[in-house]
């Protein structure tokens, strides 16, 4: 009797469990898990990304998006290691310097068709200049979701205390030039504080010096990327100017010296406007944000970009492309622009930018952000950039010495990177 009862119970349990399991398997088969690698671990950024993922889930209930934060400094290395290990993410942020490698290699899924098919996407309002580095044969391979201009943050307290003119005063007098900027930095440097810092350069990330040498019209290589132009006069003059600022005028911290502007220890720093969040709240100082000074070649601007692309090798590349389209649609671009300035024309106006950048004044937004994004050149990049970066970094070490022979060092660098540029 007991035996029969047990048998009946087992059959009944199976009768209930099998369909449940079957539907579970069916659901699991439909479920799509997308992973995006990013280099930010900022809580506010992640909160916004998760909100966007939740918004996408409303229309795509089977799709779950997760974000994986990788360390900023080694981001591209970590990403390519994941790809080499057969564990590529579905979507990835890409630095502007690595854009050519990713776009030209065929690693990315083309986005153009998906973006065009997305309702009210307005893909045409993304300027061609902003999309240039992310496009190949007329197809967009990664969306430049962040287009952030470089600008000069100023500590007016330190400058006034040293008796030098502030950049705002120089701008008003039409004297905001590199010579005068370095003169002010040198005056502050003599008080024992830091002068002018090109943030993140640290005598390693030399491409950030484009924020200075673009004022001389200098460029490390020709527009087609095939020829080294570091030996040409604009680059020699610009690097001689920087060398003098470091070793003669003591206006910029030398190699191996660390000074933090945002801790209130330096007069000026060149960095992207998103770094305004680093301004101190406990011990605030009178700060300003001004455009980069005028160089011998005139006024100029520099922008850094970040793109988001879909990995071609992913099983769900089409769904991932749909998510990228959702993430960068006009509505979400507006939300993202509080952290990552958008290159969409409709979002490049003072009204929108004031809302998303409450720390900046109307004038700062007009002169620095809107003008910077509209006219700025993107930071240098090239196919095989990591190797070129390393060779130039190594060669420039000869420039960062008090007794440097700058033209000879640049000649040697061109000799080394010439074959790499032609590849």
């Amino acid at each position: 009797m007991n035996y029969h009862r047990t048998l009946k119970s087992a059959v009944a349990a199976l009768a209930v469990a099998v369909p449940l399991c079957w539907s579970g398997i069916a659901n699991a088969q439909d479920a799509v898990n997308l992973r995006m690698t990013i280099w930010s671990a900022n809580e506010a950024h992640l909160k916004l990304f998760n909100e966007i993922a939740a918004g996408f889930k409303k229309d795509h209930p089977n799709v779950t998006v997760t974000y994986e934060s990788l360390p900023f400094e080694t981001y591209t290395t970590a990403l390519t290691t994941q790809i080499a290990g057969g564990n590529a993410p579905d979507m990835a942020w890409i630095f502007e310097t690595a854009a050519y490698d990713f776009v030209n290699s065929g690693a990315l899924f083309p986005l153009t068709d998906t973006l065009k098919a997305t309702k009210a996407y307005n893909a045409e309002e993304l300027s061609a200049t902003a999309a240039e580095r992310w496009t190949k044969d007329g197809k967009l391979y990664a969306y430049p979701f962040s287009t952030s201009p470089f600008a000069m943050f100023v500590n007016n307290d330190l400058i006034k205390a040293s008796g030098a003119k502030t950049p705002a005063e120089m701008i008003a007098a039409n004297q905001w030039t590199w010579d005068n900027a370095i003169a002010t930095a040198s005056t502050v440097g003599k008080t024992g504080k830091g002068g002018l810092i090109v943030r993140d350069f640290n005598y390693q990330i030399w491409q950030n010096l484009a924020s200075v040498w673009n004022g001389w019209g200098a460029s490390p290589w020709s527009a087609d990327g095939k020829t080294c132009t570091m030996t040409e006069k604009p680059m020699v003059d610009a690097l001689t100017f920087i060398h003098d600022a470091v070793f003669k005028n003591k206006a910029m911290p030398g190699p191996g010296e660390s000074v933090d502007f945002f801790a209130g220890n330096a007069a000026m720093t060149i960095t992207q406007i998103s770094r305004a969040s680093l301004l101190p709240k406990d011990k605030p100082f009178a700060w300003d944000l001004v455009p980069l000074p005028k160089g011998p070649a005139g006024n100029y601007a520099l922008i850094g970009q970040a793109g988001v692309g879909v990995m071609q090798s992913g099983k769900n590349a089409k769904t991932a492309a749909e998510f990228v389209a959702y993430m960068t649609n006009p509505e979400n671009s507006a939300k993202l622009s509080q952290f990552f300035p958008s290159a969409r024309k409709s979002l490049l106006n003072a009204e929108v930018l004031k809302k998303t950048n409450p720390l900046l004044s109307q004038e700062q937004i007009d002169k620095v952000v809107i003008s910077g994004i509209a006219t700025g050149k993107v930071i240098p990049g090239h196919t095989g950039f990591a190797q070129i970066q390393q060779v130039v970094r190594s060669g420039l070490d000869a420039v960062w010495r008090p007794d440097a022979n700058i033209p000879a060092a640049l000649q040697q660098i061109c000799g080394q990177i010439g074959p790499l540029l032609k590849r």
Partner: protein
């Protein structure tokens, strides 16, 4: 005949039964070494074979292509204009490290091989860096060695303007060697200390009676008797010096120029930063050969330099 049958029976039983005592013992032995054997197979032997296989290919990770190129990567090894500088930096680093590390470790061991009150405190003090996280240790040294860092700050108190330690070619190499030596000298010191304490006291007493001065006692008694330990520590230190990575990555990133770009760091750059996994694998094979040859040469030399070894 009966005797033959009696002796044949046990043999017949043992051949019909597979699990003889000898086989059972072998199995037990293999089971004991299995964890290590599986680990070595999975994490050393198989990757070694794979690295050799990769070295015969051009592997473009981004384009997802894996093309057989034969010995092209080995040809590239011969044509690589940076490689002589890299091998030179590796040789200087290894030689500097081994000489400085072993001399200092021996000196400390001799000094600390005294029966004095509180001597264990000093032993612990010199050993403590060995257990500190390597990266944390290197980052702290990175701050100290900056131009306006702690070391130059102390020098300035005495009116000396210190060099830009990590930015000058000579001082950068000295700095990475010293940072590595201070990190690991405690380990060799402990090994030397143990060896020194194993030297019989009677030999020193006899030498003293014969009128041998202290240095002669050290040269004629101590050094020969601790020579097996000297061999062991030199092998460990040389092999370790060829694998240095974190210190270079944190302190100098291989600069200035290529002066501190040692082989492992160069290999890392080629494979993981420039995405030349095939060429990176070729460099790994070269490193493997260098380590194997050096270890073999040292092992062969033991007959001439090691005393009292059977």
């Amino acid at each position: 005949m009966a005797v033959v049958q009696q002796t044949a029976r046990p043999e017949g039983r043992s051949s019909s039964s597979f699990w003889t005592i000898a086989r059972r013992d072998s199995l037990a032995g293999f089971l004991f070494i299995a964890p290590q054997l599986i680990g070595i197979t999975l994490f050393v032997l198989i990757p070694l074979c794979l690295v050799f296989w990769y070295s015969l290919h051009e592997w473009n990770v981004l384009a997802n292509t894996f093309t057989y190129t034969g010995l092209a990567n080995y040809q590239m090894l011969l044509e690589d204009t940076s490689l002589p500088s890299v091998l030179g930096a590796t040789a200087i680093f290894s030689a500097g490290l081994v000489i400085f590390n072993l001399s200092l470790a021996l000196l400390l061991a001799v000094l600390l091989n005294q029966k004095l009150a509180g001597i264990t405190v000093f032993r612990t003090l010199f050993f403590s860096p060995v257990v500190v996280s390597l990266v944390a240790w290197t980052i702290v040294w990175g701050f100290l060695l900056q131009k306006n860092g702690g070391i130059n700050g102390v020098l300035l108190v005495f009116g000396i303007e210190g060099p830009n330690w990590l930015r000058e070619p000579v001082t950068a190499m000295i700095s990475v060697i010293v940072v590595q030596v201070f990190k690991n000298v405690g380990l060799n010191m402990i090994l030397f200390l143990a060896a020194l304490q194993g030297v019989p006291n009677e030999l020193y007493e006899a030498a003293r009676i014969d009128g041998a001065p202290r240095f002669k006692q050290f040269r004629r008694i101590t050094l020969p008797l601790i020579s097996p330990t000297i061999l062991l520590t030199s092998i460990i230190t040389i092999v370790g010096s060829l694998q240095v990575f974190a210190q270079i990555a944190v302190l100098t990133q291989g600069g200035p120029g290529l002066t501190t770009t040692v082989l492992v760091y160069y290999l890392y750059q080629q494979a993981f930063q420039f995405h030349f996994f095939g060429y990176g694998s070729t460099l790994s094979i070269m490193l493997f050969v260098i380590v194997a040859v050096l270890t073999f040469a040292q092992w062969q030399m033991r007959k001439r330099i090691v005393f009292y070894e059977s």
